[in-house]
Amino acid sequence: MSIEAKFYIDRGDFSLDIALTIPERGVTALFGPSGCGKTTLLRAIAGLEKNCVGYLKVGDEIWQNDNKNLPPHQRPVGYVFQEPSLFAHLNVRRNLEYGLKRLPEAMRKVSLQHAVELLGIGHLLARKPHQLSGGEQQRVAIARALAVSPAMLLMDEPLAALDMIRKREILPYLESLHRELDIPVLYVSHSREEVARLGDNLVLLEAGRVQAKGTVSELFSRLDLALAHGPETETVIKATVAGYDEEFELSYLDFSGGRFAVAGKRLPLGSAARLQVLARDISITLERQSQTSILNIFAATVDEMMNEGTAQITVRLMIGSVPVLARITRKSATDLGLQPGLAVYAQVKSVALLS
C-alpha cells in the first residue's frame, strides 16, 4: 500500500511544494533543518493542516484531491506528536482506549494488549499522565496511536522533547516497532542518529521542497549532499546475522560486499541488523595488510572524492555495490595516488551494531 502525496501550501513567508511516493513498508524518515516543512507535510497527510491544496492517495483510496478532503478523524493514521500530549483528565488505560473505542470492531487489528506489550507500559495503566516521566508519557502516546490499528504511523520528532537518557530508553521500543509493524512509518527528525538507527528510506527537505530521496545508505553516502560532510559523517550498512563465534564473542554479519566481524551483542541467526561505520574510522591501503589488528578489511573501488576543508578529503568507496565513506587527510590521498576507479582496500577500525 504505497502512499502518493502531493501538497501545496502557501503561507506568505513559507511555502511547501512537495510531491512524493512513500513506499509501503519500512520507516521513511523526513529529514531537514527546522522550518523546512517536515512537520507541515506530516500534518497535511493527517489532515490537520488547513488551507492545503493537494492530492493524497493511500493504497487504492483517495484521501484528498480537488473534490474530496477527508477530515482528520476519518483518516486511518496513527499520529505521535513531539510532546506526548496525553489527555490530562484520563488515566493511561483510558488514554489508550480513547481511539480504540471509536474504531469499529471489524477494524481492530492491533489489540490493546499488544500495544501495551510492545511499549512496555503494562505497569502504568492505572496512573494519570502527570505521574509519568517524559519517556513513559511518550511510550503511552505511541501505544495510543498504535491502538487505532492505523494504516500508517506518523511520528513527529517523538524523541526531540526528551533528554539523552529518555531517548535511549525509547529507541529500542521504536526499533522493535520497526521490526514488528507491517505498516509504513513516516518519521520526522532532525537527528542523524535517529535516522541512522530507524530509517530505511530518507527524504531530505529544504525550504519546503524535496532536496533528495532514496534509501538511508544511499543518501548518507552521497557526496553532493550536506549529509556527507558533517564531523560525524557515517555510513549505514544493512546486514544479516550469519553466525557467532563463541570463543572470541564475535558476531558475523553478511552484507552484499562481504562479511563483518563485530564484537559484542549476540543476535538471532538470520535476523536483519544495521551497522554504522564512521568515515573517520576507515583507512585506505593499496595492498591488503595481513599483519594487523583490524578484522574488517574489504576490497573496494574509489568512486568519488571531495575535499573537506583544506587538509582533509572524503572518499566514497564502493565495497561491492555498497557505498561507504572514508575521511582521510589530503596528504594521504595524494601519497596513495587515489583517483576514481582505483582498486584499494578499506580497513574498518570500528563498527557499531545498531540493532
Binding site: P71, G78, Y98, R102, A145, V148
Partner: protein, 227 residues
C-alpha cells in the same frame, strides 16, 4: 421573626432567578465562549466588547434600554404582544432576560479563558484518534475546561444574586413576583427596619462567600500538572 413572609418570597425569587439565569447562560455561553476562544474572525473583538459591556456599564443604563426593548412599545415587547403574549417588563421572564445580559461576562469570560488554555493540541490528538468535532468537544474540551465551568457557574450565580440596578429598572419591585433580596434590603433600610435588613444581607454575604470559597478550593484541586 428573622424573615418576614415577603423576605422569604424575595429569597426564593432571587435563588430561582439566579438558577434559571445560570442555566441559560451555561447553555448559550458555552458555544459562544467556544467560538470566541477558537475563531480567527478579524472582527471578533466587537463581540468580545459587547459581552464585556455589563462589567463597566451602570446597571441602570442596561436596565433602561432593556425596559424600553421589553415594554409594550419596544421591539421585543410588541413582538410578544403581536404573538398574543404579555410585554415582558415587570415580569419574572423580563428579570431573567435582564439577568442573562447582566451576568453574561461572568460566565462567558471564564469559559473562554478555559477553552483557550486547552489549546489546539489535545483536540488534534483526539481528531487523529477518530473523534469527530462534536465528540472532541464533549470528551476532551469540556472535561479539560472543568475548572472554567465551575468558576463560570458560581460567578454567574453569585453575580445574579447581587443584581440591583437592572432589576429595579425592569422588575418594578413587585413583592411576591419580581422583588429580589437586594431590593428588599433596600426597602427595609428605607423604612429603617435594620433588623430585617441585617438578616437578608447576612444571608447573601454568607451564601456568596461560601460559593466563592468552594470555587477557589475546588479549582486548586483541579489543577493538573501539564504534561
Amino acid at each position: 421573626m428573622m424573615f418576614g413572609e415577603n423576605d422569604l418570597t424575595a429569597l426564593w425569587i432571587t435563588l430561582k432567578l439566579a438558577m434559571v439565569t445560570t442555566l441559560i447562560l451555561l447553555l448559550i455561553g458555552t458555544p459562544l465562549a467556544w467560538w470566541l476562544a477558537r475563531s480567527r474572525w478579524r472582527f471578533k473583538f466587537l463581540l468580545e466588547a459587547v459581552v464585556a459591556l455589563p462589567l463597566v456599564l451602570p446597571p441602570t443604563v442596561l436596565g433602561f434600554y432593556l425596559l424600553i426593548a421589553l415594554g409594550p412599545h419596544g421591539p421585543i415587547g410588541s413582538l410578544m404582544e403581536a404573538m398574543g403574549g404579555q410585554p415582558l417588563a415587570f415580569t419574572f421572564t423580563g428579570l431573567v432576560i435582564g439577568s442573562v445580559f447582566y451576568s453574561m461576562p461572568f460566565v462567558v469570560q471564564p469559559l473562554q479563558g478555559a477553552f483557550s488554555a486547552i489549546g489546539q493540541r489535545p483536540l488534534e490528538v483526539a481528531a487523529t484518534l477518530r473523534a469527530s468535532p462534536l465528540d472532541r468537544f464533549f470528551t476532551v474540551a469540556v472535561p479539560l475546561a472543568r475548572p472554567g465551568f465551575l468558576t463560570a457557574t458560581v460567578l454567574g450565580f453569585a453575580h445574579t444574586l447581587g443584581e440591583f440596578g437592572v432589576v429595579l429598572m425592569i422588575g418594578g419591585n413587585i413583592p411576591g413576583s419580581t422583588q429580589v433580596v437586594s431590593i428588599a434590603i433596600y426597602d427595609h433600610v428605607e423604612s429603617l427596619e435594620y433588623g430585617q435588613a441585617h438578616w437578608l444581607s447576612g444571608s447573601l454575604l454568607l451564601l456568596s462567600f461560601l460559593m466563592l470559597m468552594a470555587v477557589y478550593a475546588l479549582n486548586r484541586r483541579f489543577v493538573v500538572v501539564k504534561p
